[in-house]
């Protein structure tokens, strides 16, 4: 019996060793080597942006792993098909800023102290506004892939920060073109009381008012409220052409859609793309969300989107991919591309390299969409980075057949 047991252990050990050698050999072929490229990530684990921040965190973890394995999908020609960044493995380190702008600065410095070569901001726009000061001060490349506020890439302190998702002015312009097409003039906006919602609302409102549209109602729903009945009735009383959803918080957004449905508001419903980034809202709002139109970074028909979606959904399951994931992929690929040409991880060299990137194939937008960072703008997108999708069966499943952004 003793001999049998020893043989079994020996066989198991040999088998395990063989497997390890096998795996090692396979991995060694393209495995990144050397000191890791440390990417410091500002996330929100406990504040009001937790839900969408954690969606972005899921993406950055998965895509960093994919890049370390040399899985770069369609990006081989632009970013290089070698594993990792500059052939070195990506290592992620995290700090939670609770979507609190005061904490973002402290946590950004902490990430740099812990050895971060590059910073990624995956928290709210309001928080990143403060965090970007550290980027300029420390001269470190910062990417805020999911933030859409154009103020982030506007002076001052914008020298080292880049965003990937279409900024609110570009999305705003797409909304305006669509509304002009339909002859709309009167806009009602409903937002929640979170700083992110207010920042986004202000940006969109400024854009449409500059284009001659009238804001006939500007209503706010307090975080924690269970319905928006009073706000919706005020909106209904103004008889707007459009009700624009500028919510950042999923629970309140869903409650607002239910209030709109209950009170039979006839105006066409449009939403900023937090709605398409947060499937939880679709689930909570039920069919109240159907018919809503969104200028969204992703839609059907882009093979790059499909390629990244396939990588994401292989791990996280079907129908889980949203635009947040696509822009996080692009953010990582932008760093990989810049690092390839800069041959350095020094902040100014990386920044200069990014500023020379043109024709960067993005994972979002219309088919063939590319980003151009050589125009002096730290967001490389145009209206081609957007599609207008409509909710049907509680999903943003239909490309709107009336108009699509064309500039």
């Amino acid at each position: 019996m003793f001999q049998i047991r020893n043989k079994t252990i020996l066989a198991a050990a040999v088998s395990a060793l063989t497997s390890l050698i096998g795996i090692g050999a396979a991995y060694a072929a393209g495995a990144p080597k050397g000191d890791p490229v440390v990417i410091g990530v500002i996330e929100d684990r406990s504040g009001s942006a937790t839900f969408y921040s954690q969606e972005s965190v899921k993406a950055i973890k998965l895509f960093a792993e994919s890049i370390n394995k040399g899985e770069v999908a369609y990006m081989g020609g632009t970013a290089g098909s070698d594993a990792g960044i500059q052939g070195r493995p990506i290592e992620l380190i995290f700090e939670d800023d609770e979507n609190n702008a005061n904490l973002t600065v402290v946590k950004s410095r902490r990430l740099i102290e812990r050895g971060a070569d590059i910073l990624f901001f995956l928290s709210g726009s309001g928080a990143t506004m403060q965090g970007r000061v550290v980027c300029a001060e420390q001269k470190i490349l910062c990417i805020a892939p999911t933030n859409v506020s154009s103020r982030l890439v506007s002076p001052p302190n914008n020298e080292y920060i880049f965003t990937m998702a279409p900024i609110s002015e570009i999305s705003g312009s797409a909304y305006i073109d669509a509304w002009k097409k339909l002859g709309f003039k009167r806009i009602a906006v409903i937002s929640d009381s979170s700083p992110t919602s207010r920042v986004v609302r202000d940006a969109y409102k400024k854009t449409w008012e500059a284009a001659g549209f009238e804001t006939v109602a500007d209503e706010m729903m307090e975080i924690g409220s269970t319905d928006a009945n009073s706000q919706v009735m005020r909106v209904r009383g103004q008889n707007p052409d459009v009700v624009f959803d500028s919510f950042a918080s999923a629970a309140e957004s869903a409650a607002m859609y239910k209030s709109l449905q209950r009170f039979g508001v006839k105006a066409q419903r449009w939403a900023q793309n937090n709605l398409t980034a947060t499937p939880k809202i679709w689930e909570l709002a039920g069919n109240a969300v159907d018919g809503t139109l969104v200028v969204d970074p992703i839609g059907p028909g882009n093979p790059n989107t499909d390629a990244v979606k396939a990588i994401y959904e292989k791990t996280h399951g079907k129908d889980t991919f949203v635009w947040l994931h696509a822009v996080v992929w692009d953010g990582l690929m932008l760093v990989k591309t810049a690092a390839k040409s800069a041959k350095s991880l020094e902040g100014t060299a990386l920044r200069d390299a990014v500023e020379k990137i043109t024709a960067f194939p993005s994972a979002f937008g219309q088919k063939g969409n590319t980003l151009n960072f050589a125009r002096g703008v730290h967001n490389g997108t145009s209206e081609k980075g957007l599609v207008i999708v409509q909710f049907k069966n509680q999903k943003p499943s239909v490309l709107w057949d009336v108009y699509q952004p064309t500039k």
């Binding site: 729903m221 307090e222 009073s230």
Partner: protein, 288 residues
Amino acid sequence: MLLSIVSSGIGIGALYGLVALGYFLFFQATTAINFAIGAIVMFAGMALAVVSKDMGQAWMIAMLIAVALAILLAWISEAAILRPILARSSDEFGAVVAIVALMFVIEQLAGVIFGRRPIQGKQLFDAIYFVGDGIIESRFVWNLAISLIVFAVVVAWLRYGRYGRMLRAAGDNEAAARVLGLPIRRIKFAAVFATGAVCAVAGVLYASQAPLNFHSHLAFAIAGFIAFVIGGTGSAWAPLVGGILLGLIEALTIWFLGGGARDYMLLLLVLVVFSVRPEGIFTVRVRT
């Protein structure tokens, strides 16, 4: 149209009244303001939603679990936090800080256990009645009806129940109650038990009509506290009156002045109450 606003204000106000009743009962037992009441309401609501929807358990089982958890948390706030601190020092500041800390512990615990995304329980009351050019939602009618029942039970318990009557005696003068040999610890447990149960009812009602997330408690804590302050401590009905008044003021402010004016109005309301009638609408009457 005004009917819709008023019914909404009363319906939401009835929920605020339930939260305020949690404050009231805990205050009767301990003379302390338990700011973790909102967090207990949220925790119970999220527990109901997760157990009934995500875990697929029967709604009644989920509700019983929610009630048990709310009672446990209310008990922890008294027995494990407040009592040891007040036993060491009569300084109430330390107790308030500890209670606020507990509130955030419950918040993060809810995030870890139930997830950091919004969740909603089964929609129990979703009928809508059209009246003129306005609507009345059935959930508001149910909120008011259930709140009235809960308040009636609590009032009856305080008036006729053995521990309820002893709670009133101990609440008026704990030292005298001790001298008389009343079982203070059991009285407090009964009051804390009732606090937890009331919080659970509020949480279940919230979760059955709107999504909750781990941040929802702050809104409940603030609204409940303001309703408690407005109502005062002179009657067990006071929290309901305070809650409905608050709900109405809130709904009418948003209707007439817009959502942005809500916070200013609530702040003004609290300032007025504190400066003009700090004891609230209902005050304790003492025979001389």
